[in-house]
Symmetry: C2
Subunit: 386 residues, 2 copies
């Protein structure tokens, strides 16, 4: 898939009018000052809105949209800059307004050493409940910064082999058969596709895709099925269509039904809407075969890395997913992907105004850069000082 | 406690006669060659026995001894050297012979990039079942090497604040009251002591310690109690003696009794003999309040770090423990200690021939160095080329 990010960015002009807010509000909850730091540098945190423009109208079981609210963050320390991102699809409850309010309270100047990731991210997490995408935007920027200070990409710091990245799925949204066929044709570079189901035309969707391609599929029902027997019949049929797993087949509240389905299913049943943070992984054990980890839901890389290891310890499958995001969020998430069973990191390919270059898809497979941190290169035309 | 390591090393001469074995046996199980490595360096792995001399006869519920078999490992890559260690108290089943046999099969030359920690440690783990200390000796040397290649100590790479290291316990072994009183007096620099119990003279032991000091205590019963009601009575009495937790009160096979004790106990009940690797942490959930993580039992830092995060995710307490070890194993384990509830890292203080300098105990508290890797400095008189 040929990217034309740069052209869109040049003409987009969205960032030019963005607000730059430097958070300098003292935090009364936590006044910790690191004692081991001899250097006298400060972390300068700033952020600006960057509404994502979607290339196509995006339809899932519950809504449709053409843009995604998004905020880009930046932490500068000793001349080194880390970047982060908060992507906020409306149905998850965060917005540019809530994230701006939250991020305005983030005071990183009280910490003298960005390496104290656990303390800093704990502090951010305790500012206020919720706000996972806003929290992720600080976490990702901090990881990017610290990786750059170590001059290593995180996949290396975590000990992963980047040749083991999975193929990423590319998502085919719910639509009429001829549109689905056209989208499937356009996705011919991908070795695995993710088909959205759950709006009553499930078999029609799969048949439309299958009329164009034989690549393995995964399906995401987004809680669309309500009856466990129907769900099991569908899963059995989907297995025959070379589907690798089924994501969130039923409403997350139907825990017993999902556990029953997982126990009887010939395919792995993956939790998505049920899974946000660490405690959800433990609850998912015995209910789902595996989990979908998304930075924007789990507050960022620190928690995502722990969830990945936790799920593996519990013998559960792991997929790394995303929202519509810039290459910032995608490159961050992709650092974890060599240890994941599946990756669904196509969010940057769905937008037309990506201000970063990072992890790419080459022959369907995630290809990590060797840039330090989260593996990112910001577009100089947009960002100026890097 | 004043250390006289250097003097002992100079006159000890144990290492001088040690065998240096460079493992070059091709591994048929795994012939993976890293593809992303442009440099043409190799990892050179070697090891030599270094029997530890104990300052005092060491008595626990099941045996007594004056030495501990130990092997020091070394991985050299691009002129940088990482050190590791296998400490093998006889009752755990490994020996200099079994470790030598295992380590002779380790062929790291097939891996071109030491950063691929997950793959390399998986390979070592799959060579043969068991052999956790021998495996740990490779894992620790590899972590030391990779940390040095990043020029950072692991506590920083993991995002920890080194000012948060706990006080370490110092162990008072089972003995007659006057010897116990003398040992307790000698341990006056420590802010917390660990008292071995489980040989029938429990109250006598605690009373002997309490006649000398009021510092908090922890107790390690080493499976010595057989009756759950006796155990609960003892725990209640121990709480009144300012004991913070009870370690492995009953035989690890008495799972239901231990779960009952934990449910009724006013103090945390920690698992030790029950805990080796990741699956044991999951089994311990609901049975123990927390776990004792030891590098020599869990195969090293990779697994220890995952066990720590797993236990925290399960809301369990964590202590980092050790065998009698040199400062190599202790410094490695101490990198994790800022995230632990308790540390029991006194093993290097119990030996008279420590060939390393690393993490120290200052005013009872673990004090990590800022040396990269596991924070170690080998004694040049013993090691020559560093």
């Amino acid at each position: 898939m040929k990217q034309t990010r740069r052209d869109f960015i040049k003409t987009g002009g969205i960032l030019a009018g963005g607000v730059v807010a430097t958070a300098a509000i003292p935090n009364t909850l936590n006044n910790k000052i690191s004692k081991q730091q001899s250097k006298n540098y400060e972390m300068n945190f700033s952020f600006k809105p960057h509404t994502l423009k979607l290339k196509h109208v995006f339809t899932i079981a519950t809504n449709s949209r053409t843009t995604t609210p998004d905020i880009i963050t930046r932490i500068e320390y000793d001349g080194v800059v880390g970047y982060g991102e908060a992507s906020m699809p409306p149905y998850l409850g965060e917005s540019e307004e809530t994230a701006t309010k939250f991020l305005s309270r983030v005071n990183l100047k009280q910490f003298k050493d960005p390496f104290e990731l656990e303390d800093i991210i704990d502090y951010v997490d305790y500012i206020e409940k919720g706000n996972p995408a806003a929290k992720a935007s600080v976490d990702i920027a901090l990881y990017d910064l610290v990786g750059k200070l170590m001059n290593q990409p995180w996949y290396k710091i975590w000990g992963y082999d980047k040749s083991k990245t999975p193929n990423t799925t590319f998502t085919i949204g719910i639509d009429k058969p001829d549109v689905v066929r056209q989208k499937t044709r356009e996705a011919k570079g991908f070795k695995i596709l993710k088909v959205k189901l759950g709006r009553g035309n499930d078999k029609q969707m799969i048949e439309a895709v299958r009329s164009v391609t034989n690549v393995p599929l995964t399906v995401d029902v987004n809680q669309g099925w309500k009856d466990k027997h129907y769900a099991l019949e569908m899963v059995q049929w989907l297995k025959e269509q070379n589907v690798e797993f089924v994501e969130q087949p039923m409403p997350k509240t139907q825990v017993d039904d999902i556990a029953w389905l997982t126990a009887h299913s010939p395919l792995p049943i993956m939790g998505d809407e049920s899974i946000q943070r660490i405690p959800d992984v433990i609850k998912a054990h015995g209910v789902y075969s595996g989990i979908n980890i998304k930075l924007m839901k789990c507050t960022g890389l620190r928690e995502a890395h722990k969830m990945l290891n936790l799920a593996k310890s519990l013998d559960m499958k792991v997929m790394i997913g995303c929202m519509t995001e810039t290459s910032c969020g995608i490159s961050a998430a992709s650092q974890l992907s060599p240890m994941a069973d599946w990756a669904d990191l196509d969010g940057n390919l769905l937008i037309s105004n990506d201000p970063f270059e990072g992890t790419k898809v080459i022959n369907g497979k995630l290809s990590l850069t060797d840039y330090p941190g989260i593996g990112l290169k910001p577009d100089k035309n947009v960002w100026g000082k890097i």
